[in-house]
């Protein structure tokens, strides 16, 4: 066990954990932030996506000992970001979610995409959105990303 000082959604947090513990489980069990989801544990589904130092990262494969001083942003905090808020609003406007379990990860990935590519093409969306949605909300995810892009382009967020 070791003690780690983290910055999560702008707040300083301290946790004591086994160094191999993935960031996912530190968030969920130590910090009680359950918006970040466990889906596969091997980085294939993206349900656990968070932003680590501004980069979309699958937290199930990120040992807590390697997080260092990179700030962590989770689904609970992304709404404070204008792009994050625009994506969440577009998701609600387009009635994207079904079961909703994967959507934290989808939204975190979409926000990272729009921050790097404010006007993504279909191809950009396809290449960036490597998150599994078993309910199959992909058609609406695609629409909502474009909608968020439009809203942000208008300066609406």
């Amino acid at each position: 066990m070791a003690t780690y000082r983290l910055t999560v959604n702008g707040q300083r947090r301290e946790v004591t954990a086994d160094p191999t513990t993935p960031l996912l489980w530190v968030l969920r069990e130590d910090l009680k932030m359950t918006g970040t989801k466990y889906g596969c544990g091997i980085g294939f589904c993206g349900a656990c996506t968070v932003h680590l130092g501004g980069v979309a990262t699958r937290s199930c494969g990120e040992p807590i000992s390697l997080v260092g001083d990179r700030p962590i942003t989770t689904i609970e905090g992304i709404g404070a970001d204008p792009v994050g808020r625009a994506v969440q609003d577009a998701w609600v406007d387009r009635d994207v979610v079904q079961c909703g379990y994967c959507q934290s990860g989808q939204i975190m990935t979409a926000v990272a995409l729009l921050k790097h590519m404010p006007k993504p093409t279909d191809k950009d969306i396809e290449e960036s959105m490597g998150n599994i949605c078993r309910c199959g909300t992909y058609v609406r995810i695609r629409e909502a990303i474009k909608e968020a892009s439009r809203q942000l382009g208008k300066g609406g967020a």
Binding site: M1, A17, D18, T20, T21, P22, W25, R28, E29, D30, K32, M33, T34, G35, T36, K37, Y38, G39, C40, G41, I42, F44, C45, A47, T74, I75, E76, G79, Q88, W91, V92, D95, V96, V97, Q98, C99, G100, Y101, C102, Q103, S104, I107, D122, I125, E126, M129, G130, N131, I132, C133, R134, C135, G136, T137, Y138, V139, R140, I141, R142
Partner: protein
């Protein structure tokens, strides 16, 4: 799924004013299942509706919400008849209780695309009765006749401009007699039904605040994982847990019973990561000598042999000899292979239980609350009523949480029993899920068709080989003459009019647990029927839609309506396809809904690229068109998961060869259609299923398009090569 015993509901409404003056309406009904139907049981009261002093209207949803939108649709039905202010409606998932059983099927459940079908009137009547009582209370207060009052947006209006909010009337309304009969709205009076309402749970699911079953957190809670036997039904021979116990936070390691008479090793720790690591460090010797070791390659050989012999008769009409009298040149023989498939809902299976000796409390996402509550009670030596069963918001299911043997809940209960007094959350890792069985069964279809001079099928001999879903479950009584309807649905009852038509089935018993997978038998039967019909149309050089229409039963009105609407809506793009693109057609009727679709497909990187899908559905009254659109779009993607390369569960010498998404492939965004336009046939008929009906049509539609592009027929799924 189970729709048997659809006995007439005898419902009694009883109302009581709770201490805080909220209106509580409870629905009572007789236990409608089988032998117990004669027993007249009254249930303790519970709430469907609470009108709170702050104006909030809290509606209990008697179903699991796991994406299908029922948590919005049922309150919508009630709120429409109640004339409630929709912005004030709050939905809650009801716990397991007799009053929340499906009013037709007699158990608390979600399945068979039946939630709206069986609760459509129930929820509307609840709303209408409550509205009548609120109006009666207002009329009494104002000393006017109820007929002089009307309601809108949670307010009763009376003569002389008087008005009162529902929240102000709730206490008085609760003391009003319950009207025996209420007049329900005519479709023209609907304010919410048919209008398209956004989900109530969207925002919480977009900001991380929605709690799912896996997010349950209780004071002092422990986390458990289970090492399952490598072969279904195998037992533990010995456990060496010395390395596991060296890890900090590991509390207990012990053997528990698991599915199919096997046993496993439960590891309980303070947190998941310790439990998972400890499980990895266990050295378990398994007794695998006495269990059958299923092997996919061997099973295919056996299935193919069986496919060449006649099985138990599922359907027979016309003359059996006609087929053999047709010349070989006018005959078509086709063999289809479908592998085992895992459901893989995104939220891994889990259940949390605290056992307190004389009672217990459980938290789970369950499609079968009644069975799961009973199973937990049985393991703990309690009566079902002593187990408080909370229905948790759930991350998908697709049938995987409708498990007749409640094996996950039984494991959790066995662990909770040992940890008496301490709440424990059992988590099935994704590896447990992929390797844990309860798959869509593998199937072989062998079909021989004799074609008439008009190009239409004159004779059809069809053999299906596949494990029964119902055998060994409480639904086994539904197996008729050895034939499980869930194996043959979609073939035996095909609406295509084929004069000489013979369907038989073999149901081998195999040591692999199987389970309904969204749309059940239709997942494979629609693929077989719709690809063969398409092939016959092509052979007859006829338009695939016209060919289907010619062959369809006149009475198949919903399917015909869907086909007509799809044809009309897709004509604009089907008639000007770019080079290298083709349109594929499929239609199917199931869960009382007709669905037809056209898919525009090309081949990119040796994979089908689905540019668009036009889908039309006749599902009776479209309660929430936005949800129907969502279900059609999502159901299409679920259906595509039959096609994507790597989408197969295979066994070698008893062991499942895949363990996670790196081996068992699911569709990602580029595999799904780029766009899906959904069209609902206008109807005021009673609503029918929408969750499952879109699933069966997409795979045959895509493959029919591919056949146009490549000239090949695809009869073995998934499409590992094109």
């Amino acid at each position: 799924m189970a729709t048997a015993n659809e006995l007439t509901r005898r419902a009694f409404l009883q109302v009581s004013a709770s201490a805080v003056g909220w209106l509580v309406v409870s629905l009572y009904f007789d236990r409608p299942l089988g032998a117990q139907a004669t027993e007249k049981v009254k249930y303790p009261p519970d709430a469907f509706i609470e009108i709170r002093p702050d104006g909030k209207i809290v509606i209990q949803v008697n179903r699991l919400e796991f994406g299908q939108g029922v948590q919005t649709a049922l309150p919508l039905l009630l709120a429409d008849e109640l004339d409630a202010d929709w912005s004030q409606v709050v939905a809650e998932l009801a716990p397991a209780a007799d009053i929340y059983r499906d009013p037709v099927r007699g158990i608390q459940m979600v399945g068979g695309s039946g939630s709206i079908r069986t609760s459509f009137l129930q929820y509307r009547e609840l709303g209408a009765r409550t509205r009548a009582m609120l109006i009666a209370a207002a009329a009494q207060r104002w000393k006017v006749a109820p007929e002089q009052c009307h309601a809108a947006a949670s307010v009763v209006h009376g003569p002389g401009g008087r008005s009162a909010k529902y929240s102000e009337l709730a206490a008085d309304a609760a003391r009003q007699p319950i009207p025996a009969n209420v007049k329900l709205k005519q479709p023209s009076e609907f304010r919410l039904i048919g209008k398209g309402v956004r989900r109530l749970d969207s925002r919480a699911k977009c900001d991380g605040s929605q709690k799912f079953g896996l997010d349950v957190d209780l004071p002092g809670m422990k986390v458990a994982v289970v090492a399952h036997p490598p072969i279904f039904g195998a037992k533990v021979k010995s456990i060496d847990d010395s390395d596991a116990h060296k890890l900090e936070g590991v509390r207990e390691v012990f053997e528990i019973p698991v599915a199919r008479g096997g046993s496993g090793v439960a590891v309980v720790a303070d947190k998941f990561w310790a439990a998972k690591q400890a499980r990895d460090r266990l050295k378990v010797e398994w007794d695998i000598g006495s269990v059958e070791r299923a092997d996919s390659a061997q099973l295919w050989t056996k299935f193919k042999e069986l496919g060449r012999t006649k099985g138990l008769v599922a359907e027979t009409r016309g003359d059996k000899k006609v087929l053999d009298s047709i010349a070989d040149s006018d005959r078509l023989t086709a063999e289809f292979e479908f592998p085992y498939l895992a459901h893989c809902p995104m939220e891994p299976l889990n259940t949390t239980i605290r056992f307190d000796g004389d009672k217990a409390e459980a938290w789970a996402g369950s499609q079968f609350q009644t069975f799961d509550q009973m199973a937990i009670a049985e393991v703990l030596g309690l009566k079902p009523g002593q187990v408080t069963f909370h229905t948790e918001m759930t991350g998908g299911g697709f049938g995987r949480r409708a498990v007749p043997d409640s094996h996950v809940q039984r494991e959790a209960a066995a662990i909770a029993k040992r940890l008496k007094g301490t709440p424990v959350k059992l988590i099935w890792t994704r590896e447990d899920d992929v390797q844990g069985g309860y798959y869509r069964p593998m199937h072989l279809h062998r079909v021989e068709i004799g074609i008439g001079s008009d190009g239409m099928p004159r004779a059809w001999r069809h053999v299906i080989v596949g494990q029964s879903l119902l055998a060994g479950t409480p639904f086994a009584a539904m197996i008729k003459n050895g034939v499980d309807d869930a194996t043959v649905e979609g073939v035996a009852d095909t609406p295509y009019q084929i004069e000489n038509f013979h369907v038989s089935v073999h149901a081998p018993v195999i040591n692999v647990p199987v389970l309904w997978w969204r749309s059940v038998g239709n997942t494979h039967t629609a693929f077989v029927m719709e690809t063969l019909i398409d092939e016959l149309a092509a052979r007859a050089k006829m338009d695939p839609i016209a060919y289907r229409r010619k062959l369809l039963d006149r009475e198949a009105t919903k399917l015909r309506a869907a086909l007509d609407l799809m044809e009309k809506k897709s004509a604009v793009w089907r008639n000007k396809l770019p080079a290298g693109h083709a349109a594929g057609i499929a239609c199917h009727y199931c869960f009382e809904t007709g669905v037809a679709c056209a898919a525009e497909v090309s081949i990119e990187d040796r994979r089908p690229r689905i540019h668009r899908v036009t889908v039309a559905a006749d599902c009776g009254t479209g309660v929430n068109p936005l949800t129907i659109e969502n279900q059609m779009q999502g159901g299409m993607t679920f259906g595509i998961s039959q096609l994507v390369a790597g989408a197969a569960i295979t066994l070698k010498d008893g062991r499942v060869e895949q363990s996670n998404f790196d081996g068992f492939a699911l569709p990602y965004l580029p595999d799904a259609p780029v766009a899906v336009d959904v069209h609902i046939v206008p109807s005021t008929e009673k609503p029918s299923g929408i969750g499952e009906p879109p699933v069966p049509v997409i795979a045959p539609a895509v493959v029919n398009a591919l056949a146009r592009l490549t000239g090949k027929r695809y009869r073995s799924l998934p499409l590992n090569t094109i």
